[in-house]
């Protein structure tokens, strides 16, 4: 057994659609250490959400199916567990929050009832204990007059407050891992910053590991220790956060960093973003999926899809080109 809290190996997930089989995740492997914060970045549709939902077995089937891979949590493969076993992991050991706080809470159920469910389910509390704890949890995420607001419905909360409720609910059973799927994308900038501060504070207090999915490399820089960059259902670069910013090694990562406005740049270059659209893969690609959009593309890129290889300690990249020299590695 490794020292990893979560160890995902060769994960592949596909969706059956009228247009063909969508290869959403194509052999993703990564690890998560205890207490670590891992950022996952990439454009829309590159498979970030599907990867994490697959690990928790939350992919709707049909149309989706995890066709290969393993996902060890403390040495147990989540993908081989019975439905009953995985239920005791969800919410209790691994919790997840979602992008849109407007739709991720049940509109016809009070906040209180939604909060006490995991407490009663996983911690065996009775209703009174759970209600008292729910009020504490709301207090913890900074909702004023918490105990009076338990009987409110989601539509009586603002977007930012709803995301706070989601966080309170996710952390209610002290999970080892919090998976946050773009939890701030739908919020305006000031609220975004508040939510990120809140999560940082709670991480320091509770010590859980975090997987933070986002489009925004700027958020990752302030939050994560390590980053995965995804493209077309592959991890194409993996690195410590500082190293990724100092030495981005995949053309796609460079593109993403380029599209990030930097305040310290004296001579502002034209904000450059990557031309073209990310692909929807109906076949397992035999070429590098980024080749059509890549400035450094070579013949080999069209013939073989590069595997992740280490370029420096703890920094791995899937690219045939050494972007520093512009030549093949």
């Amino acid at each position: 057994m490794s020292d990893l809290l979560l160890d995902v190996q060769g994960l592949e997930t596909q969706f059956r659609t009228p247009d063909g089989i969508v290869h959403a995740v194509n052999g993703v492997s990564f690890g998560l250490k205890e207490g670590e914060t891992l950022g996952v970045v990439g454009e829309s549709g590159c498979g970030k959400s599907v990867t994490m939902l697959s690990v928790l077995r939350l992919i709707a089937s049909p149309p989706g199916k995890v066709v290969a891979g393993k996902a060890f949590y403390r040495g147990q493969d989540l993908l081989q567990m019975s439905d009953e076993e995985i239920r005791h992991i969800r919410g209790a050991q691994m919790a997840m929050i979602f992008q849109d706080p407007m739709t991720s809470l049940n509109p016809v159920m009070t906040i209180g009832r939604q909060l006490i469910e995991p407490l009663m389910l996983h911690l065996g509390m009775n209703k009174d204990q759970a209600n008292a704890r729910a009020a504490e949890l709301l207090e913890m995420v900074g909702i004023p007059h918490a105990s009076e607001r338990l009987s409110d419905y989601p539509h009586q909360y603002s977007g930012g407050m709803r995301q706070r409720v989601m966080i309170a609910m996710a952390l209610s059973c002290n999970p080892q891992i919090l998976i946050a799927d773009e939890p701030t994308t739908a919020l305006d900038v000031t609220i975004q910053a508040q939510i990120i501060e809140l999560v940082k504070r709670l991480r320091d207090e509770l010590g859980m590991a975090i997987i933070w999915i986002t489009h925004d490399l700027g958020i990752v820089a302030g939050l994560a220790q390590r980053v995965l960059v995804m493209y077309g259902g592959f991890i194409i670069e993996e690195s410590q956060v500082i190293d990724l910013y100092a030495n981005p090694s995949h053309p796609y990562t460079i593109g993403l960093l380029g599209s990030l406005p930097r305040l310290d740049e004296i001579e502002r270059q034209r904000l450059f973003s990557i031309e073209g659209m990310p692909p929807v893969l109906y076949n397992k690609p035999t070429a590098c999926p980024f080749a059509p959009r890549c400035k450094w593309v070579m013949d080999r890129c069209w013939q073989e899809n590069p595997a992740l290889t280490e370029v420096s300690p703890e920094h791995r990249v899937a690219c045939w080109v050494d972007v520093k020299t512009g030549k093949a590695r």
């Binding site: 209790a92 809470l105 509109p107 419905y153």
Partner: protein
């Protein structure tokens, strides 16, 4: 919730007034001779008698005066007897059934209510459950059967379906009979030994411990129930299914699963209450259709309810009776809508809290 209900109740008098004005307006198309049935039993025999009636009940007075008289009736100074006055329950005299319209309604309505309850309750209890199952097990057996049934259900008009059932089960197979009860049971029901707790024969039979009468009543009602409800089965199934399918795709359902809730709770506690919102809307819309269905069904099976009575009044051009039924229908609709609105507020907090 209480404030919502109070606000909603405050609307009711206005709706009632609207209905009465509408019906009164229609009465104005009748000749004074016909309108005299609102106040007296016998047709005026000659010009003189007619003039006397017109004078006496103010049928030549201005509209608003007539409306007022129609509402509260006219009191005979000498005897103190009131004639007419819908507020006092006098809807006029039904010449085709030779009794006051209100008596006709009150004697027929329990039968219709009995039929409607047995037609609607199973749809609500079982139909919705089936719709949920069809969505949860998409393309499973229930789903396929429901789909076929929906197509058949929505493509047959009620009267065609009713006549078809009558032909097969009554004429050819002889399984079920039209009417209300077998004669020997009718005698029991009309005897003093049989207590009328609710006036609904099926329920009274159970309360009197007469299971045989209950079964016989259901046997007579079976085809009417089927005819009246098959469209509802089809539409409720379809709407529940599609609403449930949509709800199951919602993010909060994933949230519920991500909490580790058992699938049973995810479906019945989180998804279904949300999926019920369009179903309640449908229920509100179905009431009107149901009232129309009652007229056709009762006529086809010769079932002694208000629908058959209204149809008879219509075919004999007994307009006063018909408008009496129309008024009664209006009241039922207002009550039904009130119930639906309250239900709506119960399932959706956004309605009652806004």
């Amino acid at each position: 919730m209480t404030t919502y209900i109070i606000r909603r109740l405050l609307l009711v008098p206005f709706l009632l007034m609207g209905v009465t004005i509408l019906i009164f307006g229609m009465l104005q198309f009748l000749s004074p001779v016909e309108r005299s049935a609102l106040y007296v039993r016998d047709f005026p025999k000659n010009e003189k008698a007619l003039d006397a009636i017109i004078k006496r009940y103010g049928l030549d007075r201005p509209m608003y005066e007539q409306y007022w008289r129609w509402l509260v009736g006219v009191v005979d100074v000498a005897t103190g007897e009131r004639s007419g006055g819908i507020l006092f329950g006098d809807l006029g005299y039904s010449r085709t059934s030779s009794q006051p319209v209100i008596d006709l309604i009150l004697s027929r309505f329990p039968n219709t209510l009995d039929l409607t309850i047995w037609a609607v309750a199973p749809v609500i209890l079982v139909g919705i459950w089936l719709g949920v199952q069809a969505a949860v097990h998409q393309n499973g057996i229930i789903d396929q059967a429901a789909r076929i049934f929906s197509i058949i259900g929505t493509s047959f008009p009620t009267f065609v379906f009713g006549l078809l059932m009558l032909m097969i089960f009554y004429a050819n197979l002889g399984w079920f009979e039209p009417g209300r009860l077998a004669d020997e049971y009718m005698r029991v029901v009309n005897s003093d030994a049989f207590r009328h707790y609710t006036s609904l024969i099926t329920f009274d039979a159970l309360l009197n411990g007469r299971f045989d009468i209950f079964i016989d009543a259901l046997r007579h009602m079976f085809l009417p129930i089927l005819t009246l409800s098959y469209i509802s089965w089809a539409t409720f199934l379809r709407v529940t299914r599609s609403s449930m399918l949509e709800t199951l795709r919602m993010e909060y359902v994933t949230t519920a699963r991500a909490k580790g809730l058992p699938e049973r709770d995810v479906i019945f506690k989180h998804a279904q209450p949300n999926a019920m919102i369009p179903v309640v809307t449908l229920a509100g819309g179905s009431v009107v259709g149901l009232l129309g269905g009652v007229v056709i069904t009762e006529t086809v099976y010769n079932y002694p309810g208000i629908g058959a009575a209204a149809a008879k009044a219509a075919t004999t051009l007994d307009v006063v009776t018909m408008l009496g039924f129309a008024l009664f229908n209006g009241i039922i609709l207002i009550v039904a809508n009130l119930v639906v609105d309250i239900l709506y507020a119960t399932v959706d907090p956004r309605v009652r809290l806004s």
